[in-house]
Amino acid sequence: MNKSRKQRLAMVIDTSKCFDCKACMVACKVENRVPKGFWRNWVRNDGVGDRRRTQYQPGQCMQCAEPSCVAACPVGATYPLDNGLVVIDPKMCIGCGNCVTACPYGARYRDPATHLADKCDFCRHRLARGQEPACVETCPTKARVFGDMNDPDSEVSKLAKQKKLVRIHAPQVETKPYIFYLAGTDLLDWARTPVLPGNVHMPPGFWKQG
């Protein structure tokens, strides 16, 4: 990665390569010591259907450019880094849970022991050691491609240039996710409208204050 330029970390996921082995989920769980009963990533599927084919779609925190979780945090404990990663400062988090319901992708949870918010950060600690996120590295078919969208030589940039990419958008609120999927992925409309706890809907402008 080119260090002189500002990075924009992203993933491009090729759904057609995933056979739902869930290696990414267990790798993440071990790497990040995710508590029992919680996951930072997932593999969705579109059921059987008439076509008698099923698609498996991996996902996790989409590291949005306009993150509704950041807008929802009353204390500024969750915020984007220069490289686009949305992170949580556990020292500032008050465990209110606003960000959990504010995420259109259900990517956040409150740790049952600390009661603080947690989620995928693309294995920031591994990136610092020069390793890829655990889910990316362990994947049998490398369905997830990770890299810097601002680096024209990165795999993700090349895929963005060569292929048609799609995003999974939240209804009503555009959060500009930075996980892209190769066009052809079926599951595009599962994200939910961000709300505050208690199913409190906020005017669209609220979600843009991050």
């Binding site: 082995c21 869930k22 290696a23 071990v30 029992k36």
Partner: protein
């Protein structure tokens, strides 16, 4: 003289010749070659120690790097230099850490203190345990001959020492897990091609998969390579009564009527022959018995097969023509587990014949010759015991058994009957026939005939639960193992070696140490007069390049071309050609060409139960793993909505599954992902061992309802021959309790 006795004799003669070399190897210095420390990855200098190893969560031995911080393994990362697994580690591989730090692990030797299977144990010291084990083995040997002790070791790199111990102790009765798995496939391909081929799925253009589920029953690198091949335009066609994930991702899926695959492949052969679509040059030059085959398949038309298989004739013809057009980069995937039907060898013979007609042997995208790197060894001249019986206890019970593998089913029958001679001792290592051998009640009956049963394992498996003496083994992450070879499809063959990431926990001891201690107590110490370092040294003596690669990268990859290497060379068959017609079968009473016998329809109210896998469990070995339990900690019965409605079974209802072998209860998963005449459940649940705390009391044990039929040719267990009835026991407490897929 039996085949095994001959084998022993030839080995003895051979070893006399190599004795000098062996002696030299044994006294060689233990060098620092095997320190096994990978260079620290960038940015983790000092803090994290990295140790090369190979995964042991299933048989694949995928390459991994254990990250160790302050003496604790914190993460298992894939080893990207390892071409078999190509930088992947599956869910089970990642959960290897859960096996290492499982609080349910066996911690010290245990002696049965109550009734067998009651679960009352007394802790022993290792000295007490080994003295007792040696005393019991000696007593059985004296009373019933040395063949009165049966040895069964699972797929493990240290199983070689169990086999060595069995041989010097003097028992021919050694079985592996393989006769509950794949020996009928091996028989069919060995008899047709003279070798068990390795499929080059990566370069294949058309893969027909029947009786295999490569996106759930993962095999590296095939599972990855098939995806890559499909992205390059290859077609995948799957025949399976279940909508597996392989079926879900295939270009075409046919829910074939279980047990009728032979009809499908005979019809393919019919089309290839009659439409002259076979590979003419290959068939003419490299095969024998084509004329007999051509005559034999005349009656097996696609129209005839359609009625047997529930697959339209037009599809059988089209698939065959498409494969012929893609030949030789087209294959019937050989698969692995073939413990399904009483004619499973003949089913795989038909698949092998279709492969031969496609001329895909030794071709890019076809079936390739296995390549193994030869290692050295520390030889031995096993003693001869005059009073031993003539042959294995299961000898003669199948038409053409592999004497080095035997048959679990027939050995168990022999132990129960006490014929032809009694077996009163059983030593098992990392294998769990209580869960993987069909008809659990019979396994219990077998164990009840024994005077003494010793089980070495990591967990208190159901098999350990039944034993008299249970000895704790370390996980692969705590072990120093011999060098072992692997075959990475067309990418490579290679060698790998395990080094301990951490020291053995609790009082666990590797089976190498255990048999060495037993040998010493039984005055057989001379056969184990070496250390693991000595053994590895002997293995690598003549292949220093392998030793160097193992030290540097944790793996040695041999990337010489895997196809185009067998041109002009004979096949290792009696005719030196690919045997479409196996003449020597006649003298064993086996049909030299596969003959189809119509399968009885499943009667109304009954279901055929089939065995299978998902990607999170390795039969019964990983079902109690806490990390994998978060994905699945229970099994359920797959049943189609139509019969379920007739039986008033709704999602999550408790049902009873009954066969002549036994009865089990579990929740129903009402799903269109299975044929209406077939039911399925995952293996490895319904355990009897209370030492498997995460899953005890959950789900059902498929081995308890499967009848123990066998493949007539090899004695491989035939697990799909059981018909069961299903009845509702209770409504679901909560409708959505069945594990999600």
């Amino acid at each position: 003289m039996s085949e095994i006795t001959r084998r022993l004799m030839t080995r003895r003669q051979m070893l006399k010749l190599s004795a000098a070399a062996s002696a030299a190897a044994m006294i060689g210095p233990a060098t620092g070659l095997f320190s096994g420390r990978a260079a620290a990855a960038p940015g983790q200098a000092g803090a994290v120690k990295s140790v090369f190893s190979a995964c042991d969560m299933c048989f694949n031995k995928c390459g991994l790097i254990a990250r160790v911080q302050q003496g604790v393994v914190t993460k298992l990362d894939p080893n990207p230099r390892y071409l078999k697994s190509r930088g992947m580690l599956c869910a089970r591989g990642n959960a290897g850490i859960g096996q290492l730090y499982d609080p349910n692990r066996l911690k010290y030797p245990l002696l049965r203190a109550g009734e067998r299977g009651q679960g009352k144990w007394q802790r022993l010291s290792w000295d007490q345990a080994l003295d007792l084990a040696a005393e019991k083995l000696q007593a059985i040997a004296e009373k019933y001959t040395r063949c009165g002790v049966l040895f069964m070791a699972g797929t493990d790199t240290q199983s070689t020492f169990v086999h060595r111990f069995a041989e010097v102790f003097g028992s021919y009765n050694v079985i592996s897990h393989e006769s509950n798995c794949l020996i009928s496939r091996n028989r069919a391909y060995l008899d047709t091609f003279g070798a068990m081929p390795i499929p080059d799925t990566l370069n294949c253009k058309y893969i027909l998969m029947a009786g295999a589920n490569r996106f759930e029953a993962l095999v590296t690198p095939d599972s990855m390579d098939i995806v890559t091949a499909m992205h390059a335009g290859a077609k995948l066609v799957v025949l399976d009564p279940r909508y597996t994930k392989t079926a879900a991702l295939a270009n075409e899926w046919y829910p074939i009527k279980p047990g009728t695959d032979l009809a499908f492949f005979l019809a393919m052969a019919h089309v290839l022959v009659n439409e002259e679509l076979y590979h003419k040059k290959f068939v003419a030059e490299r095969t024998s018995g084509f004329d007999q085959l051509a005559a034999h398949v005349q009656k097996y038309t696609p129209e005839w097969a359609a009625a047997e298989c529930d697959i339209k004739a037009v599809d059988i013809r089209r698939i065959t023509r498409e494969m012929a057009a893609a030949k030789p980069a087209a294959m019937v995937y050989p698969g692995r587990r073939t413990s399904d039907y009483e004619n499973s060898t003949q089913i795989r013979r038909a698949m092998a014949i279709v492969n031969a007609l496609l001329g895909n042997w030794d071709q890019k995208g076809g079936l390739t010759l296995p390549r193994q790197i030869k290692t050295g060894h520390i030889g031995y001249d096993a003693p001869f015991y005059d009073d031993n019986p003539e042959d294995r206890v299961d000898a003669g019970r199948a038409q053409m058994m592999f004497s080095e593998e035997g048959s679990f089913k027939y050995t168990r029958d022999a132990v129960i009957e006490g014929k032809p001679y009694p077996i009163k001792g059983w030593f098992t290592y990392k294998t769990n026939p209580m869960q993987t051998g069909a008809n659990r009640a019979k396994t219990v009956e077998m164990i009840n005939q024994l005077d003494f049963m010793i089980t070495v394992d990591i967990n208190l498996s159901d098999t350990a639960w039944m034993a008299d003496l249970v000895l704790p083994a370390p996980t692969s992450l705590e072990r120093e193992d011999p060098v072992s070879s692997f075959q990475g499809s067309s990418a490579c063959s290679g060698m790998v070696m395990r080094n301990p990431a951490v020291s053995p926990m609790f009082e666990s001891r590797p089976v190498f140490w255990i048999v060495k201690q037993l040998a010493r107590r039984l005055k057989l110490g001379e056969f184990f007069d070496f250390t693991m370092a000595d053994f590895r040294q002997a293995q690598l003596k003549k292949i220093p390049e392998v030793a160097a690669a193992l030290a540097k990268e944790g793996v040695y990859n041999d990337t010489r071309p895997s196809w185009g290497v067998h041109q002009g060379k004979d096949f290792r068959t009696p005719s030196k050609k690919v045997e479409l017609y196996v003449g020597r079968y006649l003298k064993h009473g086996v049909d030299p060409l596969p003959v189809y016998h119509p399968r009885q329809e499943v009667p109304e109210g009954k279901f055929r139960i089939v065995v299978g896998r998902n990607a999170y469990i390795s039969q019964s070995a990983s079902t109690n793993n806490a990390l994998l339990c978060e994905i699945q900690d229970d099994n359920c019965l797959w049943i189609h909505p139509r019969p379920a409605a007739k039986l008033a079974i709704g999602p999550g209802d408790l049902v009873e599954v009954a066969s002549p072998a036994g009865t089990q209860k579990l929740k129903a998963r009402v799903t269109e992902e299975i044929r209406p005449d077939t039911v399925y459940m995952d293996t490895g649940y319904g355990v009897i061992s209370k030492g498997l705390r995460n899953i005890y009391g959950k789900g059902a044990c498929i081995a308890a309802v499967l009848e123990d039929r066998a493949d007539r040719v090899t004695g491989n267990m035939a697990m799909h021959e059981t018909l069961v009835s299903v009845t509702k026991v209770a409504d679901s407490a909560a409708a959505a309790t069945c594990p999600k897929r």
